[in-house]
Symmetry: D2
Subunit: 412 residues, 4 copies
């Protein structure tokens, strides 16, 4: 009655702790194991290979355990062919559907290994055939429709875990923990370096930001980086954009506060009037065009032709006319910006950082900056294994980052 499968995994199993995690997973899923063979490299630089026979109480349990192990890069020795079932209810996957990781994935159909086009975690895999061409795409649950062909079970699937280079100098920070007690000036330089590399490779830099960017006085620094070409896309909510616009529309009063460090009082009334003003114009871009909005982050994005996706939340006032009030629409708009992103920086927002972490492929370097350790930890916990966290002050961090990236940057 119990069901078994032989799997294998290759890599720096010993010194990365990955073997330990694999056995933990098996235990958590109430399975059992026998290590059939293990070949540890003798020298420090060698990779190891382990072959393990995994057993569960029944085939359903085994399939789910195998899907889980794939998130660690553990694949079946004999993967066979992928199994596909049709969707028979809109927005609902067939039973036993394969739940995706955000890792590079291949699916074997008719003896051929096909790459999954847009890896994203917690989705399903849909197979489409157009003429001779067969494609496998990741699809979120809410977008599946009757008749679509959905991959089920773990057979015929191969997942690759990116090798973390041992000797790499940049992004070696936060290898295992989150701490505010780190040499922060060094970390800033590493982030700047990561952004430059992405741009040099012709890829986009994605920013995800919360209103703390404005409150900590970092808007001028961010504007400088927009102008210098280091912000291609911004994901945010209603709050960042509204506070940024409010600071620019009511500059006299709030400007004084920001310039003198008095801290932002709770001037809801400014906030509400700023929203009404932009709604009257029809959009942020229209407000820039008409001369109503003349400065700040959103203004810089519009005038430099950069992209932004604002997605609403239940606590929003207004909201701004550019905000997606339907969160599924918002997620779709975010997904549409992901192609060619080569670096992602998340600053001062838990909600949008987690949302972005959910849809980003694991192959994109990702840095999360927040003064609250919980935000950074939460993101890393969500399975975004490529995430690096920096617990620091957002205002000073962006100020220093502008110094690194923008020659001659000097705060007014």
């Amino acid at each position: 009655m119990s069901s078994s499968e032989t799997v294998e995994v290759t890599g720096h199993l010993m010194d990365s702790g990955v073997l330990s995690q694999i056995l933990d997973d098996i235990r958590e899923y109430e399975g059992d194991w026998v290590i059939d063979s293990i070949d540890v490299g003798r020298e420090a630089a060698d990779t190891s290979t382990a072959t393990i026979t995994v057993t569960s109480v029944d085939d359903e349990a085994l399939q789910r355990l195998l899907m889980r192990l794939q998130t660690r890069g553990v694949n079946m020795v004999d993967p066979g062919e992928a199994s596909v079932s049709p969707c028979d209810q809109d927005g609902v996957f067939p039973d036993g559907f394969y739940s995706t990781t955000n890792l590079p994935t291949k699916v074997r159909l008719d003896g051929t290994w096909l790459p999954v086009e847009n890896p994203e975690m917690d989705c399903g895999l849909v197979v489409t055939r157009e003429g001779d061409r067969t494609r496998v795409v990741t699809l979120p649950m809410s977008d599946v429709r009757v008749g679509m062909q959905v991959v089920c079970g773990a057979s015929g699937i191969r997942v690759t875990v990116p090798e973390v280079a041992r000797d790499e100098e940049h992004f070696g920070f936060m290898e295992s923990d989150v701490s505010s007690e780190k040499p922060q000036a060094v970390l800033v330089r590493q982030v700047a370096e990561g952004m430059r590399e992405a741009k040099e490779a012709g890829r986009k830099v994605l920013w995800v930001g919360g209103p703390g960017v404005v409150h900590t006085g970092a808007a001028p620094a961010m504007v400088a980086m927009v102008e210098a070409g280091f912000v291609d896309v911004l994901f945010a909510g209603n709050a960042l954009a509204t506070h940024d616009i409010e600071a620019n529309l009511y500059g006299t009063s709030l400007g004084v506060d920001l310039a003198h460090g008095r801290g932002v009082k709770h001037g809801h009334e400014h906030h509400i009037r700023a929203l009404n003003t932009i709604r009257k114009e029809g959009s942020i871009a229209a407000a820039v065009e008409s001369g109503v909005l003349t400065g700040g982050i959103m203004h810089a994005l519009v005038t430099h032709g950069k992209r932004f996706v604002l997605v609403g939340s239940v606590r929003d006032d207004g909201p701004l006319p550019d905000v997606h009030t339907d969160v599924l629409d918002g997620q779709r708009a975010m997904r549409a910006e992901l192609p060619d992103v080569g670096f992602c920086l998340m600053v001062a927002t838990m909600l949008h950082s987690v949302a972005t972490g959910n849809i980003l492929p694991a192959s994109i370097p990702l840095v999360c900056v927040d003064i609250n350790p919980a935000t950074v930890t939460k993101l890393a916990d969500r399975g975004s294994s490529q995430a690096r966290g920096i617990v620091t002050d957002v205002g000073l961090f962006l100020e220093q980052l502008a110094h690194e990236l923008v020659p001659g940057y000097r705060r007014a």
Copy 2:
């Protein structure tokens, strides 16, 4: 050119610090003042009355300052009549619209003071006339439509700040600060007392919860309180409901964790399958009906005929079929549950607590419980003056609360 108005305020001005806040507001809005008269009660129990002439650079600035001061209960000595302008663009208020507080408010039209029916902050006031009857209702910006009559300026408006009883024993906690160093067992009793009073007065108890309710093992305590009639409405997001359902559908594995205190591992796959299962059933209630869902908080709410409003966010997987994916729809659904609410408890969620704080009238007692001081502080900062914050462990707090409210409650 400068513009003046004489205002007055009555209350415990001296010992509540409210006079200090009023003068701060005037300074922040760049106005000036002369204290025309001040009558301080001689004895400790007496109230004081101050009459102040306020001056701003022009009438527009003055109107905005006067609106601001109304949030402190400062009203014009000679309020005059309310001024009304028609809306000429959907979703946009006329310039100079009156931005609301969540305090009891009256509007003077044709010499008569009319009460505002549903006080809510950061909205506009719309005047409707049906036959002889004139009504004033609060309307959020996004719901205003062309032709509606909107109150503008601060004339003809009177706001009452609820007197905080000095000698009250319950809800005297967190008078001025947020701290984890408080006698927590006492606070639990005060919350229980507040809930009992609301129920005895025939009013509803509103809960606002985050997934921490489930993670901290407090679901059994909350179920007991649902059964005992102390949860009439629940506002939450996709996460609380999904984690609660997941814990019940995959009880064997996750149940073990919860029972043994191992902490919840990141079993995304369970999470995703739970979502798919309920989506297949069509709704949470349908899953209860069909016997798929047999326990937990959502099950208890359904079987006891209690209400819940789930509103989505951009980070959601799935979501559950009951979730409002449009946040403005979600806000409307939440508003519809507010009549007759007499007590509100917010537990372990920043997002939904702020959203609820935004729409609650100030007259409803409100307690916010979170282990993170920032969440509690943020809510209090938003102008929810009736808010009381408790920084404590959510799991132990709800456990103790069930002990207070449910005779014979004993954790299984």
Copy 3:
């Protein structure tokens, strides 16, 4: 049987909230009050004066309430003469001793108002007479000796609360709260300005630091500020000095970590060997002299002839030979450095910041920088009314401060 006294207070009573605090104090001490007269300035810039008759159940309670009120600058209309009692037990004050504030204080003896020489909170006042000369000094409880003349009760004492200038631009931050959402770059400049002003006035800059200064990579920035003359005295514990020395003695391994941002591993063994090495030399200065210690913060202090006081705690390993292991000795050594201090910066330490806050006169400007809001709040709560708090990253803060203070500073 009940006992009364008439007191008066002058200042910006209304807009500073101080009157509200005074009435709160009376209530907390279970007294009662009648406001005899209040003269509020009519204009915003005017000061107010209130005369209040305060009543308590008996004279002892009244005296204690009066002492409490003095911390708010409330003094008796008819202060009379100070009452003095002899100490009859070493280390114990007479009953009813006057418990000090850290505010400028005068004591009336034989009809003459004498200034208290070294204001410090929570101490007693001792009167000494040498020939014609009578002096009043602050003495901590543990240092009082049999026969000393100690001031008792609140009679004959006058306390002045420094007027906080309303329009001052620097150090207006954190007037009422602690927040990480502030324009941080502005705050750095204000601190730099405060230090420059102190130096220009010929006064000393006191630093209080924790080991986070080293862990966050800020040691080079601090060394630059020592060299530039902005660090006259350092108060710290064993940890800051040991980590600084360890980083310099074992530069190869730990240096790599600091340079590459890998985060400090828990190399206790390095730590212990660093301690043993310096103990062998006899002192930090001896280790500098002998060439064993060649860099870092402690090295810079020694070579530039700056002062430091290291005081031990129960968690210390070693400790370094320079550490005061008796905490009362340590407090005495700290007090001895206070004369001529004109500015105090506290960085990344709760323990030593509170200890320093306890002994500093209120007249010395004080800024506390920490990434943990609780540390900053705790200090402000302790009655250090002159304290300003900045919640930010210590590493980036000191890096920026060095940029402001040291022309041409550039991190190696």
Copy 4:
């Protein structure tokens, strides 16, 4: 020139992640390795054994790496004899001294393996010979004296890492992380169980507490546990004892606060008078005897003949006459209480928890409870591998613990 040694380690190397940690240590110490053999158990329950040849640049580096590896339970295949050198300066170990762990340790002298009597981390090992009897004791650096024989290098030393039982139900919490999102009611029961087991085994329960125990209203619960025999020794600072005594001496005013949940105002003056009162009596016990102190935690400890060690810190006022003002004296007094301790609970104090963690043998189960995750994490990071952390509210935690441990406990 490079130097090598072959070491071995046995245990659940794979699934505990310990092998990964070992290789990390070698890398951090700039050594190199060859895995000579590895025998992984085939089944899940089997232990593994690895033999590794470790290489460093020279013998000194190798010795230090070997000492480091011993903290992981890695011992030399051919340990040889321990090497001993005399101390030639008071308070300074000889160069190359062996730096201890807090694990069970044996030292080989004259062919015999001798157990180290009192394991403590970051100390040295001193060999004493009385007649035929040779003993090895742990000694802190500050207590070593000229002529003592100190073990140097890693030869002849064997360290045992306690096997963590995989299937144990209690204290399985916080296996890998610290989180406030745990089923807290379950954790309380596990702590109660741990205390009962220690008492049944005839061992002592050690508490380490901060003033938060009093502020959170948990003193009555703690008193009940003292009376029921679950508090044998208390380690604390001046603050816990002073606040506890203050609450009892000035019960009327402060009692009101604690009973009504108003939060403790900053009544320094009460605090200072409480200190003076006890100093006058000469000791806490004398104040109990004379009837001055009639309730609270300290009173309960005295009347039930329990032990306490109070150690001062630089921020102390007073302090109480029972407080050790010299921190090294304080550490010695703490060490003297450790024999027969079988369980340790740390509540609401970073300083004394770290101090106690420094001197506790690894074999004593240890639970740290704090609402601040940083405190819990810091302790676990310090190498106290047996530590379990619970992030929760201290007041509710102790209240629940009293419910579990004291039949019929009911808060007054």
